[in-house]
């Protein structure tokens, strides 16, 4: 007969020496706190309600597009055309509002953004073109269109200050909008069938399809949402600057990608949270603000910004390396 071993082996696992896992977002949050402490100690002007309002205001536009970009990245897609789309919509607004009034201007801007999103969505979700290529192409198309609309000129606009310069309960309107968008996306991504479906699609598109989630309409909707929020961002920007310029929001896409990746999302899909992106956005904003307030020269600012970006993500990675 075979040896049947007793089960009385020591029940104890061998002693473990690991630290309990600190979630990525928390670590990133600590990093943000460290930045704030550093700048507060280094400059008397940094730590003030006024300056925090500055920081929030400076990232509101970025935030309004970075939040939907998070869900896009969860679905393993990116929208690199958000900056151009924001500029395009802002310009549409200014040009239409000049002749036909603010209401029509706003309508034109939103329609433009949703249409741009629908084109992106159609190409990616229905035809199946890679989202990087598609939106890189649209980045160029929309930037060209922006210049065509205004013949390459800056268009000033008056009487449309509320969206960009108003405030409620001491908090500037753009910050409110950013907060509302973020809150809506927290709910969307955690507590709706649509949001969870996007996670499933990003994690394993084939398997998601087999449980009845339809990639095409879901992704299409996502790009349309991204386009609509880019229009909103363009309107805020135009309202803040009181002018639509052909170069507005240039390079915004790279900040968006940086913020979303900082926040723990991954281009391979299935991962990413709004809270992470918020922290990412705030790190970028705090850094820009703090360096300017410290009067760091612009060349060194550029170096520091890159360095901090790497550092913020690197810390998390180093910690994981140590744990394994």
């Amino acid at each position: 007969m075979a040896t049947v071993m007793s089960n009385e082996h020591t029940d104890e696992a061998p002693p473990r020496r690991r630290a309990p896992a600190l979630p990525t977002q928390l670590l990133l949050g600590l990093f943000l706190v460290a930045l704030v402490v550093y700048f507060s100690v280094s400059s008397p002007y940094f730590l003030s309600v006024d300056n925090f309002r500055n920081i929030l205001l400076s990232v509101a536009v970025l935030g309004v597009v970075a939040v939907p970009a998070t869900l896009l990245m969860v679905s393993a897609n990116v929208d690199l055309s958000v900056g151009s789309a924001a500029a395009f919509c802002g310009m549409l607004f200014a040009v239409v509002a000049e002749d036909h009034g603010l209401a029509l201007g706003v309508a034109a801007a939103l329609a433009g953004g949703l249409l741009a999103g629908a084109v992106n969505g159609g190409l990616v979700a229905l035809i199946g073109i890679n989202s990087i290529i598609t939106t890189l192409g649209m980045l160029s198309v929309l930037r060209g269109a922006t210049k065509l609309v205004s013949n390459g000129q800056t268009v000033g606009i008056d009487g449309f200050r509320g969206l960009g310069s108003g405030s409620l309960a001491g908090v500037p309107t753009p910050v409110w909008i950013f907060a509302l968008v973020a809150a809506a996306f927290v709910v969307l991504m955690r507590y709706t069938a649509f949001g969870r479906g996007i996670y499933a699609l990003g994690a394993n598109p084939h398997a998601a399809r087999l449980v009845g989630i339809r990639p095409a309409p879901n992704l299409f909707a996502l790009f349309v949402i991204s386009g609509g929020l880019a229009a909103l961002a363009g309107l805020i920007l135009t309202s803040q600057l009181r002018a639509a310029t052909p170069l507005s929001a240039e390079g915004l896409e790279l900040s968006v990608v940086a913020a979303v990746l900082l926040g723990g999302a991954s281009l391979t899909g299935g991962r990413g949270t709004v809270v992470g992106t918020l922290v990412g956005v705030l790190i970028l904003g705090t850094l820009n603000n703090g360096l300017t307030i410290l009067n760091v020269t612009s060349f060194w600012q550029e170096v520091a910004r890159g360095g901090v970006l790497i550092l913020a993500v690197g810390l998390d990675q180093l910690r994981r390396l140590r744990r394994d």
Binding site: K147, G152, Q153, V155, L241, A243, T245, L247, N288, T297
Partner: protein, 326 residues
């Protein structure tokens, strides 16, 4: 050659802007600075307008603020067999390479000198800058008796000579009107000079000027007599919004280079927007085209360098300069 189709003067008398020069059958390549810059678009529009009137065919290219692209464009023009080149790019350092490719074709360089081969045309950057600074200074003298807390510039650190010349000039122009302040020596370009009341900010577009401007205001809470000098209207527009949003209107005097229409309303209505030095890019063509025809015909240009006249546009004179806008 298909020539400049539909010219306004075929056969008939040439309009006055042509200064009697007929460019029929001539093809000129115009490589623009970068069509994302409103100023450059106005230069192009002006050149196209005059060229059509004087029967010159213009081939366009966009240097996109990229030196490599500028070289590619010259090569393309040469391949297309243009008779002459109008080169608008800001990097004096690559002038030599461009001149080599141009060969013995006549070249007019806009706004920065291309020493080896080209006739300079355009702004007196330093002089225009001084005009801007002096204009701001006059207002500062009137409002605050030159009692300034700070001077802040908005410019493009990496945009080459024109930016440096205009802003160095602007600081110097301000100093001439309000001399008794610590400016520091910026003649060789420097970002900061210790002890200076001048802060130079790397922001030549609306958005960065807005964001960095607000940060600057935060870091200077006590400064309520400030002069802002801008490379262009876009930058001053951004900082102007920042000042208003920070609730500090009336604490900053603005003056910009260029004179783009986007700032005309502000110049008219805001008593703290001192004005803008007009470069009149829409009129560049009136100097470029007739002189280029002369050069293609083997003659000398009417002058070398061909300098634009600058005017400081203020609320007082803007309606005379742009009567159509009223």
């Amino acid at each position: 050659d298909s020539g400049a189709g539909g010219s306004g003067a075929a056969g008939g008398e040439l309009p006055e802007v042509c200064q009697g020069q007929d460019g029929a059958g001539r093809r000129v390549g115009f490589a623009n600075l970068g069509e994302s810059v409103p100023f450059a678009v106005q230069v192009r529009t002006g050149i196209e307008r005059v060229a059509e009137q004087c029967n010159v065919q213009i081939l366009n290219a966009d240097n996109e603020l990229d030196p490599q692209r500028a070289l590619d464009n010259v090569r393309t023009f040469v391949t297309q067999g243009v008779d002459a080149l109008v080169e608008f790019q800001v990097d004096a350092g690559i002038a030599e390479a461009i001149c080599d490719l141009a060969g013995d074709r006549p070249v007019i360089a806009i706004d920065i000198p291309h020493k080896p081969c080209a006739t300079f045309m355009g702004a007196d950057n330093r002089g225009a800058g001084e005009m801007t600074g002096a204009g701001a200074g006059e207002l500062a003298k009137q409002k605050w008796n030159c009692d300034l807390d700070a001077v802040v510039t908005f410019e493009g650190f990496a945009s080459g000579e024109p930016s440096i010349q205009r802003l160095n000039g602007a600081i110097a122009g301000l100093e001439q009107v309000c001399p008794d302040l610590e400016y520091g020596d910026f003649d060789d370009w420097a970002e900061t000079v210790p002890g200076s009341i001048v802060t130079r900010v790397d922001a030549d577009r609306t958005e960065p000027a807005f964001t960095k401007g607000r940060d600057w205001l935060t870091a200077h809470p006590a400064a309520d007599h400030v002069v802002a000098l801008c490379l262009n209207e876009d930058a001053c527009l951004g900082f102007h919004s920042a000042v208003e949003q920070a609730g500090r209107a009336g604490q900053v005097i603005f003056a910009s280079n260029g004179g783009d229409p986007s700032a005309h309303d502000l110049i008219r209505t805001d008593e703290f927007y001192a004005g803008a030095t007009g470069f009149f890019p829409e009129n560049y063509g009136e100097l470029v085209v007739p002189n280029m025809i002369r050069m293609m015909n083997g003659e000398k240009p009417a002058a070398d360098p061909l300098l634009m006249e600058h005017t400081f546009i203020t609320a007082a004179n803007i309606d005379d300069i742009y009567p159509a806008e009223k």
